[in-house]
């Protein structure tokens, strides 16, 4: 017996296994970052003093990084749409952009980190910086995960398109859902850490 509904949707649930799986995974990710954001709130309301983000963080750089990530979300959608339209060459281009944009994001993030280190603004400096480092680093790990997965679907994994087209489309869709989630986390992180 083969495992059913790996590609096609099950009639009564309306989902295939991959899509249900990735949504459940994202639900747990919501709880992970939810736990961290709750910790942030509790620590902040319990703190005697809490710095404005701008005292330590560079808002223009953060804004640029936000735009970069949103752009990569857009290219991800375009990549998936191109696949659905059967335009593999376009898919490759958009997917490449989806891989390279977050690399740029990480480079800028790295510069920010380097700046912090050179000013001795390490996690041990204050609870604000501690939560900044922890949450952005955890988010950064998620970004790296996304780059690896999307890179695989851009490169060696894309051969599957010629063999099992529908399965490949499902996989890219799942990777896309994850990628949008990672971007969404940043969209929360940016105002919480930089602006508030």
């Amino acid at each position: 017996m083969e495992i059913p509904y790996t590609v096609e949707a099950r009639p009564d649930t309306g989902l295939n296994n991959v899509k249900l799986g990735i949504w459940l995974f994202l639900a747990s990710e919501v709880m992970l970052f939810g736990g961290l954001f709750s910790s942030y709130v509790l620590l902040r309301v319990g703190a005697v003093e809490w710095p404005q983000g701008a005292e330590f963080l560079n808002i223009p750089i953060g804004t640029v990084n936000t735009i970069i990530l949103i752009a990569s979300s857009v290219t991800m959608v375009m990549a998936y749409a191109s696949l659905k339209l059967g335009d593999f060459a376009k898919y490759k281009t958009y997917m490449l952009a989806t891989v390279l944009l977050p690399v740029l994001f990480l480079c800028i993030k790295g510069y920010e980190y380097w700046e912090k280190v050179s000013h001795d603004h390490l996690p041990s400096h204050s609870t604000f910086l501690a939560i900044y480092w922890t949450m952005t680093a955890l988010h950064g790990i998620h970004i790296i995960g996304g780059i690896v997965v999307n890179g695989y679907f851009w490169g060696p994994g894309s051969k599957m398109w010629h063999i099992k087209r529908e399965m490949f489309e499902n996989r890219v869709e799942a990777a896309g859902l994850y990628w949008h989630f990672v971007d969404l986390v940043w969209i929360f992180l940016f105002p919480v850490l930089y602006l508030l």
Partner: protein
């Protein structure tokens, strides 16, 4: 087709050999992606961890019974740093305590109940060929295995294993020895494992049900596993977050859980301060209370299966049971702070959590009552699995009812952190859950091996264990009510108010060692029966659920013909039917399979 499903499925059992391509030994038994092999890997690894965790406790019980006396024989092997001259140091006792809790919960009971039974039985019961994501399933096991290795290895780092309790309360855990860092890293592996597992279980249950297996035809065990998986999926990540924060506190000198102005024996701590030790407790118990239901729900599922099978009548109130389990799952997310009544978090919050705690006891009592009512009027077969299931009911009852005073803020002031608490939750987990798991092993052993476990050895194991385990835990209520603190390494001999109850310490220790002795019968029986147990057919218990329709042991892909479901899970003694059980895959009007 309908008729063929059961009749031929069972007839074909003998030539279970499947025309799959040959797998190498490594692929078939080590890095297997078959849910049955992974289930057995989980089960055996978890049983070993249970034994190990229990051994730690037997060592601790020596020091509680005979404080300051050298441990005979074993004491010589514990090392100078832990037990000079065989006498256990308090620091080592703390390590054993913390690791006993951690190992029993995260490496023993949950992997056995969910990873072991869930993996092996759930796909079979819903008529699926395997789990939805076999490769993730394998990754889940190996992540669990690595987490276990890290935990065990932490005993050998300088300063020994984690020693701040299984709850790892900050700030103590932040300033503790290196073992705590290993504990956190180990937990991250275990959390990853349970995340992969729970996604897999939910997708499998929702997506891979055989044709005709509607939600209201799912065996109760499947429902219990499904709710358990949701708890694991949503409750574990906050602990992962907390673990990361504590790791930062320990490694990067942050102060998430460290308040300002903290002074240790070495003087004031050089930290930025401003953190909240209570935050750790909130994050920890947000996981760890649902975790309690992760421990108990699969056990309830197993007991449900065994009770229905051995009373030869349907489970009483199947729909109520399902509704209760789901409600229990929801409620378990909003009771966590009843572990924290004495932390000074405020009476308003305490009152809220006291109320939710009282509410969550309702579905628990409903489930237990339904199980008891299921017994009424049944012609009970006292098989070994049934003995364990029957023992589970009152034992879990004691555990649950003794929990009520703990859930009320006023009596908790007296009872908090005493042996009463230890007695309470051990009644839930040890003669409760672990007995149910033993019952499950005796019950499904013939499915996994095609052989029964020895009946006489099973009965010795049962009666010995039930008596011994009550000798261990019942006196804890007495010593706890007398005010014995749960963390005293010498059993409280320095306290005047405990002098009257100290004698119970030795009694409990003899109970624990007797319990250990009776497990030998189980261990021997388990391995002996794999080769020498009585050979039986595919459905030795005359059960109704789908797993008994597959050959024993089920081949790769599980079923010889794709199963189809025609009825509910517990159609025992249906009036007018030709046998006293109607299997789920048996078409209406079809003759039951000969067994």
């Amino acid at each position: 087709m309908d008729n063929v499903t059961t009749a031929e499925g069972i007839a074909h059992a003998e030539h279970a050999g499947h025309d799959e391509h040959e797998l190498s030994f490594l692929q078939a038994y080590v890095f297997s992606q078959d849910h049955k092999v992974i289930g057995i890997q989980y089960a055996i690894t978890a049983l070993l961890f249970l034994l190990f965790g229990f051994t730690l406790m037997m060592l601790m019980r020596w020091n509680l019974a005979f404080p300051g006396r050298p441990i005979p024989v074993i004491g010589n092997f514990l090392g100078m740093a832990n037990a000079p001259g065989g006498i256990m140091l308090p620091e080592f006792y703390n390590q054993l305590g913390a690791m006993h809790g951690t190992i029993m919960v995260f490496l023993g009971v949950v992997p056995l109940a969910v990873g072991g039974f869930g993996n092996y039985v759930l796909p079979l019961q819903i008529g699926a060929p395997d789990m939805a994501f076999p490769r993730l399933n394998m990754a889940s096991y190996w992540s669990f295995f690595l987490g276990g290795i890290v935990m065990i290895a932490s005993f050998f780092v300088p300063g020994g294993a984690a020693n701040s309790g299984w709850t790892s309360y900050a700030p103590l855990s932040v300033i503790a020895t290196d073992g705590q860092t290993w504990w956190l890293i180990g937990m991250i592996f275990l959390i990853t494992s349970s995340l992969l597992g729970s996604v897999n279980f939910i997708v499998t249950t929702l997506q891979l049900r055989a044709p005709g297996m509607s939600f209201m035809r799912l065996p109760f065990f499947v429902w219990a596993q499904l709710v358990t998986s949701f708890l694991l999926l949503l409750a574990f990540p906050p602990l992962e977050a907390a673990g990361v924060l504590q790791l930062m506190d320990r490694v990067a000198d942050t102060s998430f859980f460290m308040p300002s102005g903290l002074v240790t024996g070495d003087g004031p701590l050089e930290i930025s301060g401003g953190g909240s030790p209570l935050l750790w407790q909130h994050l920890f118990w947000f996981l760890a209370h649902p975790e309690v239901y992760v421990l108990i729900l699969p056990a309830l599922g197993i007991v449900g299966e065994i009770v229905a099978n051995n009373t030869r009548k349907p489970l009483w109130g199947y729909r109520v049971l399902v509704a209760s389990v789901i409600f229990l799952g929801f409620m378990s997310f909003i009771v966590w702070a009843h572990h924290m009544f004495l932390t000074g978090m405020g009476t308003t919050i305490s009152t809220f959590f006291q109320t939710t705690t009282m509410i969550i006891s309702i579905p628990s009592v409903v489930i237990l009552s339904a199980m008891f009512l299921s017994l009424y009027g049944g012609s009970i077969r006292y098989t070994v699995p049934m003995l364990f299931a029957l023992a589970f009911l009152p034992m879990f009852g004691i555990g649950g009812l003794t929990g009520l005073p703990l859930g009320l803020t006023a009596p908790d002031i007296h009872l908090h952190d005493t042996y009463y608490v230890i007695g309470h939750f051990h009644y839930v987990v040890a003669p409760g859950t672990i007995f149910a798991l033993f019952g499950g092993i005796y019950y499904w052993f013939p499915k996994a091996t095609g052989r029964l476990m020895n009946d006489m050895l099973g009965r010795i194991h049962f009666w010995g264990s039930i008596i011994a385990i009550n000798c261990v835990f019942m006196p804890m209520f007495v010593t706890g009510l007398a005010g014995m603190n749960r963390r005293l390494y010498d059993g409280g001999m320095q306290y005047a108010h405990l002098q009257g109850v100290l004698e119970w310490n030795q009694f409990m220790s003899y109970g624990a060692w007797a319990l250990g002795f009776f497990q030998i019968f189980f261990i021997f029986n388990f391995f002996w029966s794999i080769r020498h147990g009585k050979k039986v057919d595919d459905n030795p218990w005359q059960s109704t659920t789908l797993e008994w329709q597959a050959p024993s042991p089920p081949p790769h892909g599980n079923f010889t013909t794709p199963p189809e479901v025609h009825r509910g899970p517990y159609e025992y003694s249906v009036p007018g039917a030709s046998s006293d059980f109607s299997m789920q895959g048996q078409a209406p009007g079809a003759e039951p399979a000969k067994v």
